[in-house]
Symmetry: C2
Subunit: 631 residues, 2 copies
């Protein structure tokens, strides 16, 4: 096991390949983004003649000396003075241009000037911009669109660039399905192969060409054959994806040992720990772990630096800023963890909310604005203490983010989409921690808005009494987003004929509950109270889940017969839904943000017919109170 | 004439085109960089089955309750416990995975555990990453390589994206030459057309497709016909380049008036002032000025924001930092000037050196690290006062820049190239202000190194006595870079048979001198003194130029017969050269930087044989003292 720094050092030292890419001569117009293999010097000067830099007349400066308003000097057109436009060649024996607006035109043949001009005034001299033989760009310079101007002007129409590094990606794993060829529905255990496209496109962004080989089963002989062919081919770097760990079906390490040598197996990072670095002949081969986030981090930390080195480019660190985690983040001593975070500017702080930690969650990186690295020697991050985050998205977009923390509802997705469709540049980032978690986030100053559906069982109202109780004195507004149906989630077809809350007491049914403090649990208990139904009679009342989706999953997998949740969760898994109650889902918004442009733009969208129509069309929602400011 | 803000407001309001791009459905693997035309929701959940998240055995958590080291629980393999690898489907009636290393394997059929596990431990539940029907990405989201992972995993194989905006570029100007078709040498007055490639590739980087029409002569009828055809075609934005000013051959404005309306003619910016914004039918047409830097700034300020708007993207401001100009920069009241600057971190400050201001100098933007905008209401920048610069190059590269200010020599180009060829990530930025200007820059703390060749006419030594005189007490080092030939630059063939300094007194010769204080002027005066030759006898002694190249240009254009300068200047313009004296060209380096890694890396390169060989091969140089630390 190596540290990150050790593994990188080994890779960059072992494959001192930065001069190994051959040179291609390509047309200048195709050269943007490419790296110069050799210094390029100008063939032509620019201008290559003395050129008028203004519209006016060209003169010999000496012929103007002594002119003043009292004693203007008269010049003969086409003898002492020559009309020129910008860019024209300066006529012989002239060395200055007088702007047209500074002339007195006496007639067709004569002009008069009232002030002298100095030599080379308004003249672009030969070589003012580019001198033939001078260096235009040094070796390893990356060509930008601007550079095309200097190259063409300097007479360089073919450019010597480094060939792009070639990367071959070999996906391995018996569970993998190729989405391009498979039309059948996925079977349990099957996984759509996507890593090769992600890694390949990251390699392309880093300036490499990538190709993808057909995916392989977990069969050491086949993997060996493929790797052997790959290293003999004309690629510069070989990546296998999957099978890099130490499980009974992880064959990459043995294959590399059989054909060459393993330089690194395992790095003290998370995700990405089971990465393998090997060398077959002189060629680098990487065993990239199969979990999508592990694969990305292993690529970015180990393969990209090697591509940079081959291209002669410095590794560009991502820009970073200081952020404050909204809650403690635990981490494992001895591993450097890459925590994906959402960021948003709330008040004067940039707050960071950790996304799911699992290396299998691709959305934890697609949704991330940044990455906080927790060093090996630390056991985690404290809340509200500034720490550095590397930015994945531009810093400006963080200022334009509305941070939502609290209960999840699918209408927040519609809101996020409508916000992006508008002209405001705003985006909505939501983290799902339940209604009470949202109120606590408001209290801590960790968000702009919090979704909440907390029922007061005393009086049947929502949210208001909770604000009084948990945030006395905090000046907040409460805005209705939607009314939504909660109901019983049952298997498709509802074979057991479940129709109401009373049925939950049936002996032939297993129920699954939500955790204490969740809006849905409060709702269930309220309903049971109204019906006078003793919770002890419900089979499974004490089994708890934490989200609507987990409840639906339990129903889908047959673990239970019924649960209570929102329509959207049932629909997502194609389950049946029996509406039980309509509840109020509101946004809690601190007064200081309610007045802000951001939130007012959000309010504008909530009040549009477009938003309401889209919400209604989801099913399970009504919008009669949508946009109402409750307090 | 409009201000920048007014012109942008007119453009973005007039062409509220952000929803007008039609939708294309493209394969997911081709979608990186494209903009979603519609929100994309997942078709599949991920995982779509409960999956083992570790290698181990799957069990029902309840069957482990009560286990402890004193009373381990025994489980039957394939009855209560099932071996699984990461990613496998969880067998029926199991809900947790125990890692392989936490098992006691008793025999093939029995295992023992010493601790209970909780439900769902090491299990990736259905929908943990992605839930079918949930929003993956909102409309206007730009697809990254990461996104491919979420799209494919979510079952999205075809993606609805906005068609790219189409830009047509029409270069105009009778002076233009197409480098692709012209093989003849350029005639005076001709210019290689390059703007369309620069602007086109900037448009491509902004997410548009561009095409280029054949360039047109300054002929209003032809321009009119081309523009008419263009606006009727299927492009979204038409750009003419050149002819946008008010000169006698600037026809763009009249053409637009004839076919539609001119919304803006002239904006109070520099470069870029003569830009035209027009509308023909509903189509935007821009008259882009022909000077290369004007064209770039007009594109970036006016066309790119419109492309962004069409794509539904916020305009991303360039990152900016505070920098200190090393000298005053004057500017014109009433115009917002975009000053291109080189940047470098010298001590604790980021210093900015203004590049040539002319809009015709493409190298003023290819060499720039950033742009300082001087607002309309200001008359310039003060030196050593912090001001904001927008960064063109990454901030990290500024820290890795060695800032050289002083006398120019071509061997600095070789040094820059060798530095870029190495593994240090360093680059060299040089500004040419003469030897004395370099010493003053060292004194002001505005550079790391200064090139200098100041001759002490008392004793024939170089630089040392000037340091004593102008920087007493400043602890600096002096390192020889090269010995170089200064000599007489004369027309090719040397028809007048010039052979030595004495010839300068000949009546039939016109000479051009360098400015007082320049190393070359000091050298000439020293030589004249040695020879006892009275400067008054030299025809042209009082005519001064400021650079070696200007002297060579004066000789080339026939204005004079001879000047004094370095071999490289003669060679650049293919002139003859008569060596007169070998002079010492040194680097002045403050002690505090001399010790730094950056300068030590530079010293290492100066001392390589590769560097010396390349310098010798330029001609006019010798390297016997190269790398010697003189003081």
């Amino acid at each position: 096991m190596k540290t990150l720094a050790q593994a990188r050092e080994i890779i960059l030292t072992e494959f001192q390949a930065h001069n190994s890419l051959s040179t291609e001569i390509i047309p200048v117009q195709d050269s943007v983004g490419r790296t110069l293999a050799q210094p390029v010097t100008a063939e032509l000067s620019s201008p290559h003649f003395h050129a008028a830099a203004m519209d006016g007349v060209a003169v010999a400066a000496a012929s103007t000396f002594g002119a003043n308003p009292a004693q203007p000097i008269e010049l003969q057109v086409n003898k002492d003075a020559f009309y020129v436009n910008t860019g024209h060649v300066l006529p012989d024996n002239t060395d200055a241009v007088i702007m047209i607006e500074h002339l007195n035109v006496l007639d067709e043949h004569r002009i008069q000037i009232e002030a002298p001009v100095f030599p080379w005034q308004h003249v672009r001299k030969i070589g003012e911009d580019i001198v033939a033989t001078e260096l235009l760009f040094p070796r390893n310079h990356v060509i930008t669109p601007y550079c095309l101007g200097a190259l063409i002007t300097g007479g360089i129409f073919k450019v010597p660039v480094k060939r792009k590094p070639r990367i071959l990606i070999i996906p391995t794993g018996s569970e993998l399905v190729d989405w391009r060829s498979s039309t059948a529905a996925l079977k349990p255990g099957q996984v759509l192969e996507s890593n090769s496209y992600v890694i390949g496109n990251l390699a392309a962004e880093a300036g490499a060409d990538f190709s993808r080989s057909r995916q392989l089963m977990d069969d050491p002989a086949k993997i060996r054959t493929a790797v052997q062919a790959a290293v003999k081919g004309d690629v510069d770097i070989v990546l296998t994806v999957g099978g890099s760990s130490a499980g009974s079906e992880d064959y990459t390490k043995d294959v590399i040992i059989g054909l060459g040598e393993v330089l690194v197996h395992g790095v003290t990072i998370m995700p990405g720990k089971p990465v393998i670095v090997g060398k077959i002949g002189n060629k680098p081969i990487f065993g990239i772990p199969g979990y999508p986030v592990s694969a990305i981090i292993a690529f970015e930390q180990f393969v990209k630096p090697l591509i940079d080195q081959m291209r002669g480019q410095p590794e560009q660190a991502r820009p970073s800023i200081y952020v404050e985690p909204t809650r403690k983040v635990a981490s494992k001593l001895g591993l450097e963890e890459f925590v994906r975070v959402k960021l948003g500017t709330v008040g004067s702080r940039v707050v960071a909310t950790a996304l799911p930690r699992g290396a299998g969650c691709i959305t934890s990186i697609t949704e991330a604005d940044g990455i906080i690295r927790i060093p090996e020697h630390m056991e985690g991050l404290k809340d509200n203490q500034a720490v550095k985050a590397e930015l994945i998205k531009p810093a400006a977009s963080i200022d334009n983010t509305i941070v939502a923390v609290g209960s999840h509802d699918n209408t927040l997705d519609v809101l996020a989409d409508e916000l992006k469709a508008g002209t405001t540049n705003l985006s909505l980032s939501s983290s799902h921690v339940g209604s009470m978690g949202g109120l606590m986030a408001v209290k801590r100053g960790a968000c702009h808005i919090a979704g909440s559906h907390l029922l007061d069982t005393e009086n049947g109202t929502y949210n208001v009494s909770y604000l009084d109780k948990y945030m006395p004195g905090r000046n907040v507004r409460l805005v209705n987003l939607v009314m939504r149906d909660q109901g019983l989630i049952v298997p498709r077809g509802n074979a057991k004929g479940i129709s109401s809350i009373e049925d939950l007491a049936r002996d032939d049914l297993a129920f699954i509950n939500r955790q204490g403090g969740s809006g849905t649990r409060i709702l269930l208990d309220y309903k049971l109270g109204q019906l006078g139904l003793d919770p002890a009679r419900i089979n499974g009342y004490d089994t708890e889940e934490y989200t609507h989706m987990s409840v639906a999953v339990a129903v889908l997998s047959g673990t239970v017969d019924v649960g209570l949740g929102i329509f959207a969760a049932a629909r997502a898994l194609d389950l049946d839904f029996i509406p039980v109650v309509t509840e109020q889902y509101d946004l809690v918004i601190p007064q200081e943000y309610f007045e802000s442009e951001k939130i007012q733009a959000l309010m504008d969208i909530i009040n549009t017919d477009t938003f309401k129509t889209r919400v209604e069309s989801l099913g399970g929602y009504s919008t009669e109170k949508t946009g109402q400011v409750i307090i």
